[in-house]
């Protein structure tokens, strides 16, 4: 087991979120939420990583006063937090928007008996889809689960609202959702820090009539949910979180929440704004009084028209999505274009400089990424197989040069979808093999159950578990396959061969391979796809972003020996670049494009995948590392 000393950064020395009360520091919304949770005296925090929420728990891990952990998925994280709340402790849970889809089973029921200690759930919505598969609006959970929704606009509000959320949670015995968006989570702004107030825990008090949520107890407690709704409807009318910013131009009045409020202030500084920090329950009295002061009410909210529809249903005239886009951020330029005409403002002039898109620069797998080996092989099997993919770095396998994924839907979905593709296959697809590709963290998150289903129903599926010992896509967080925990402490490391054997995969059909050994990997995958029963290929190699990975001396392409076939480019390694092109006449009379390559010796970390891909053996160990311009881009910068 790898023993890693806690590094300076892991202990948070000098981290601004740890500065003393009263100091004004630059914090991201995520860091500010963490500080607010700590100031609230929370005892426990649990999360599963997911952009843009990940840094909340990473920052919380720096505070010694509370217990923090990465859970295997969001549902377990929420359940751990619920358990902590039952002891009377203040508990916190964080996730990205799609995480709540997983956690909602627990949420929808705990809201019946409510909570003991304060329970706050931060949900980060990825508006604009910088790193997500959908743009769902988490404010729906407020209505669905009968819980209050707080919406901070910036870092200072994120800190304050985290604290407010715990107060509200305990005052009304309800979980509270802190709904953030990327433009809160990933914006750094000035924050004045407060003191931590310790929160004594009374301990778990047995009360099965409340906490055993069976039909009889639920029937009895359900009316309490309605009572809570009524109380919160009063709170929302008077809370300081909902306030009016006065303005002289009353031709319109805007109701806004979250960062959209700040965009409105920039776009229309003279227009009055009703800012909703506690946006559910909706303060209809406040909205009605505000509406009476302006000619026309416009609701500016990201992204669904939840407030707008609720306000109109209450009989208050309001506009919103008839003017504004329903997708994406409502930034000042978007607002000026959409609402400017209501104020008789001129149409925005064209941009002074034209927008140019030179080429796309999609994210790509890192140099020496072990997934490159798997996708190099899968790209070659492409015609014979359907490939069901999953969520993680390896979803990049859908792009060039591999183009080796047919579906990616949800965490763990590669398993069930592969089984469905198998069981409903048509005569036309009879000869196709079905492969499911999933990473270690995603397999542990939601993939295990799907594999059990494949085994139980004897699906003809080859599952490839890409075990790189980390949750790589979100920045290399440790998980149950890492052998260590959030604080880099030793932890039991799951054994994938034993796990899949326990799920019922026959021992002969469990193959452990090194993804850097291309010929063995290719042979193994081919063999398993040809055997009509559930099989699992476990490709083991640590992610290059972790300290489990150790770089080896780089390779170089010998120009005299390079035939220009370009096959090494199919590995998809960013260290390999085209040095020159050419053409070659074929016997058929046509010509083929030649691409001669060089390997950037600073980017290359010597995995050797390209060596195996090179027919003429033109790739050899580089004698000496020479600094190259590429280093500036690919190595860690000096100030990191």
């Amino acid at each position: 087991m790898v023993q890693t000393a806690i590094s300076g950064s892991a202990t948070g020395v000098g981290h601004p979120a740890l500065a003393p009360a009263g100091e004004c520091v630059l914090l991201s919304g995520n860091e500010a939420i963490a500080r607010g949770v700590w100031e609230s005296g929370a005892r426990l925090a649990a999360a599963y990583p997911g952009t843009p929420s990940t840094e909340i728990l990473e920052t919380l891990s720096l505070f010694p006063e509370l217990y923090a952990q990465w859970s295997v998925n969001e549902k377990v994280a929420l359940e751990v937090a619920i358990g902590a709340s039952l002891t009377g402790a203040r508990a916190f849970c964080a996730m990205k928007q799609v995480g709540m889809n997983v956690a909602s089973d627990a949420l929808m029921t705990i809201t019946v008996p409510g909570v003991a200690g304060g329970l706050v759930i931060a949900i980060a919505d990825d508006i604009g889809l910088s790193s997500s598969q959908n743009e769902q609006d988490s404010r729906y959970w407020g209505r669905f689960a009968h819980v209050p929704i707080l919406e901070p606009a910036d870092s200072q509000e994120a800190l304050e609202m985290a604290k407010h959320a715990f107060e509200l949670s305990e005052a009304h015995a309800t979980p509270v959702i802190l709904r953030c968006t990327t433009r809160v989570c990933h914006v750094k702004a000035r924050v004045t820090l407060g003191e931590r107030v310790a929160h004594d825990t009374p301990g778990f008090r047995r009360d099965p009539a409340r906490w055993v949520v069976n039909p009889i107890n639920a029937q009895r407690q359900l009316p309490l949910q309605g009572e809570r709704d009524r109380q919160l409807a009063l709170v929302t009318e008077t809370t300081a979180l909902n306030f009016v910013t006065r303005g002289s131009d009353r031709r319109i009045g805007i109701v806004a929440s979250g960062p959209a409020y700040l965009h409105v202030r920039d776009a229309f500084p003279e227009v009055p704004v009703l800012k909703l920090g506690l946006s559910y329950p909706v303060p209809f009295g406040l909205v009605a009084r505000f509406a009476a002061e302006v000619d026309e009410l416009v609701v500016v909210e990201e992204t669904e028209p939840l407030l707008e529809q609720a306000i109109r249903a209450e009989g208050i005239a309001a506009r919103g999505k008839d003017l504004l886009p329903r997708l994406g951020e409502l930034t000042p330029d978007v607002l000026r274009r959409a609402l400017g005409p209501l104020l008789g403002e001129p149409v925005a002039p064209p941009l002074p400089y034209p927008a140019v898109t030179p080429f796309p620069r999609p994210p790509t797998l890192c140099a020496a990424c072990p997934h490159s080996g798997a996708y190099y092989v899968l790209a070659r099997l492409r015609k014979k197989v359907f490939i069901s993919g999953d969520i993680g770095c390896y979803a990049l396998g859908a792009g060039p040069p591999w183009n080796a994924l047919d579906t990616v839907v949800a965490m763990g979905a590669s398993m069930g979808i592969a089984l469905g593709l198998d069981k409903a296959r048509s005569a036309a697809d009879r000869s196709k093999s079905i492969i499911a590709v999933i990473g270690d963290s995603t397999f542990l998150h939601m993939g295990m159950q799907g594999l059990l289903d494949i085994v139980y129903h004897q699906g003809n599926v080859t599952v490839i578990i890409l075990d790189n010992r980390t949750t790589a896509m979100t920045g290399a967080q440790d998980n149950a396959s890492s052998g260590r925990g959030l604080h880099k402490e030793d932890a039991p490391r799951v054994s994938f061969p034993q796990l899949v054997a326990a799920l019922g995969v026959r021992p002969e059909r469990i193959r452990v391979v090194d993804p850097y050994q291309l010929p063995v990997l290719a042979r193994t995958i081919r063999e398993e796809t040809e055997i009509p029963e559930p099989s699992v290929v476990i490709a083991e190699r640590p992610c290059v972003l972790t300290d489990f990975y150790h770089a080896t001396p780089p390779y170089r392409a010998v120009d005299e020996d390079c035939t220009g076939c370009g096959n090494c480019l199919n590995v998809g390694c960013p260290a390999i670049q085209v040095s020159r092109t050419g053409q070659k006449a074929l016997k058929t009379g046509t010509t083929t494009e030649l691409r001669f390559t060089v390997i950037d010796p600073v980017v290359c970390t010597g995995c050797g995948l390209c060596v195996a891909s090179c027919g003429p053996k033109a790739i050899v160990a580089a004698a000496a590392v020479q600094a190259d311009i590429g280093a500036a881009a690919q190595s860690a910068c000096a100030t990191c």
Binding site: H263, P352, R361, C637, T639
Partner: protein, 205 residues
Amino acid sequence: MLKPQTLDVYVCGVGGQGVMTAADVLAQAAIANGYDCKKSEIAGLSQRGGVVTSQVRIGAHINSPVIGPGCADLLLAFELAEALRAAHQLKSGGIAMVNRIRLPPPVVSLGLYRYPDDSLGQMRAVGVRVYDIDAGAIARELGDLRLVNTVMLGAVAEFLPFPVAELEAQLIERFRTRKPALIDKNRRAFAAGHQAAHASPILAA
């Protein structure tokens, strides 16, 4: 005395170049000098060689963290094609400080797209005031390629609403606790960047 005008800086580059760190230093320096500041970042999957952008707004009071196309005063670009991609973020008369490094992505190596031949020329042709900084060469001369973002911070320092020395002080402060051995090198890189901006010919249309 705080300058009343807001200064909007759009920072762009490729994942791993230190774009976020440079933007962080700008923001830290702003608040250390009494300004309000919001620094927005869209990293997405940036660790994997994608486009990285950060927006830094500095002023007496900042509401929205978003600058918006056609509104940036300064473009701090760490890569040639990324400078071209972000040029329309500049307002009329805005300044582009560009590191003249070419980092073609795999889709270019694969022959699926062409890397633009003359990004700076294209920008100048439409009237952008371009400062052409060879930060890679300067960093190499100083013996450490990782100094590129320090060079670029030195280059842009002159255009900020607080003294050049204040930005340098913030930068050095980062090293004081983490990597004190690198302080001297970074001071030299910062000075060289500052000098390079002075020496760079601006060719406005």
